[in-house]
């Protein structure tokens, strides 16, 4: 696991890392809160060092709890949702569609 240095103390996660993932996850976090979160997350991630002791080179990742394969569905139409009911729950709608502010700064 990577260790990052903050003021001479080795920490598994830095304030920069936290700010970066907050941006990736679209969470506006004030700078003052970044420090607090960093401390808490660093403490949690310190605990994670316990697995550094394990030799996992020959271990296959486990991605499924129960071994199912080929779960498929027939290509048949099912009833749709009522558009009015759905749009009534929307924060903003116009012309049968969901309305959002200008889509600037996002990548398709």
């Amino acid at each position: 696991m990577k260790a990052r240095n903050i003021e001479g103390v080795t920490s598994p996660i830095s304030a920069e890392d936290v700010a970066k993932v907050a941006r990736l996850a679209r969470l506006d976090i004030a700078d003052s809160d970044i420090t607090h979160f960093t401390e808490q997350l660093a403490k949690v991630m310190d605990h994670f060092r316990d697995v550094d002791a394990l030799d996992l080179s020959a271990v296959q990742p486990m991605t499924q709890p129960y071994p199912l394969v080929n779960v498929l569905r027939a290509d048949e139409e099912q009833p749709c949702l009522d558009r009015d009911e759905v749009l009534a729950a929307a924060p903003a709608a116009e012309d049968g569609r969901f309305r959002v502010p200008p889509i600037i700064g996002l990548v398709e």
């Binding site: 990736l24 679209r26 991605t63 499924q64 199912l68 394969v69 080929n70 779960v71 498929l72 569905r73 027939a74 290509d75 048949e76 139409e77 099912q78 749709c80 949702l81 558009r83 759905v86 749009l87 116009e94 012309d95 049968g96 569609r97 969901f98 309305r99 959002v100 502010p101 200008p102 889509i103 600037i104 996002l106 990548v107 398709e108």
Partner: protein, 477 residues
Amino acid sequence: MSTLLPEGWELICGLEVHVELATKTKLFSGSPNRFGDEPNTNIDPVTLGLPGALPVLNEQAVELAMRIGLALNCTIQPCTFHRKNYFYPDMPKAYQISQYDQPLNIDGFLDLPSGVRIGVERAHLEEDTGKSTHIGGATGRIHGSEYSLIDFNRAGVPLVEIVSRPDIRSAEDARQYVAELRAILLAIGASDAKMEEGSMRCDANVSVHRVGTPFGTRCEIKNVNSIRALGRAIEYEARRQYDVIDSGGTIRQETRHWDDAEGRTHTLRTKEDADDYRYFLEPDLVPLVPSAEWISRVRANVPMLPAARRTRLADATGADVQGEAVSVIVERGQDDYVLSVGEVGGDVARALVYVQQAFSEEPSTPRIPAKDIAALTVMERDSKVTSTQAKTVLADIVANGGGDPAAIAAAKGFEAIDTSEVEGFVDQAIAADPDAWAKFCNGEQKAMGALVGLVMKASKGKADGKVVTAILNSRRG
């Protein structure tokens, strides 16, 4: 096109083509896969990314995806689905379910009509996004818009993304690749592949380099909406990159937007702007392991592909396999018909010409009985009608959806006249216009026209122009 780049330089291109599959319902849920319906009427909890919704894979989408793989000579393998995480308002879950390191189809190829083989790296399944409309800006684009409206009808529609290897070396190659791919998709019933409607979308990766050196940095070009635009965009971009390098600059790896009106590309985003997609295995789905038996059944559902059809038709008719007649007939799907004319005793080479010329409005299964066309080809072959007369009779047959060519010819007064009669008319013409004959003998080809005209008049149009010409040429010596 050797004038695009200087000697020793070449362009390298790979294409990523997204194809909407012709299923009834979406990839992971049962709402309809239909173009043009009222916004947000083909939606369900899965399509909208509602809390608690779960995806279930559409069997027919897998069938069609496998057909595409087999048609592109791919290996079909056990595969998994991954989440590609990023935020965009037309992405209802803020992740797209796609395939990452274990896609369904790998290691295929597509042979262009020119004979060049383009490698196909992979063809995988993924879901489509919704559609945004931008309101308030001058151009209808995001820039300058006041707000946007999102329609999720298209969200969840099954896509196959076909990624070629960077084997394309010219705009013409690229155009042929897309055209042939489209023909294949139509032939196997996987998609209607209409670029104008968005059911087939092309992105091009373009770079340039000096031959014999490593490939250069590539740029991705988006917003190419027709095969013609694809060619123009590739050529523009190759030239742009060469010019940058030639003036001492370096190419920045980026995504560029093709502006067809202006005929240029410009930066959409750089590599640094792109989000980290944080791919991980989709926990709500299980692996897809197509059995050998299923793959066989899919293979049986793949009909003869355009390339094989062209070869078959060319072999049967003696026509050029890369020629326009073969290409057009196969594109129309009328090649089976042409061959069937041969099966009822007709001359297939002539049938090819007739069908090319006169059947452009006919469906792939033409209305006209093959035996009628067969009979006409035989009449022309046996010189019972001239080729000009045959054209007229053909037009009549097509207009009426059929007809007995012998009866039509007779009704029009077309009779065959044999060669000795034509010789007689030629003698008369030479005698009537010795001047023209002298000029013709002197090498003036144009003088032949007057002589032929006299023969036609004297024979009341029944002489075959080709025969007249042949006689005149042989008399001249």
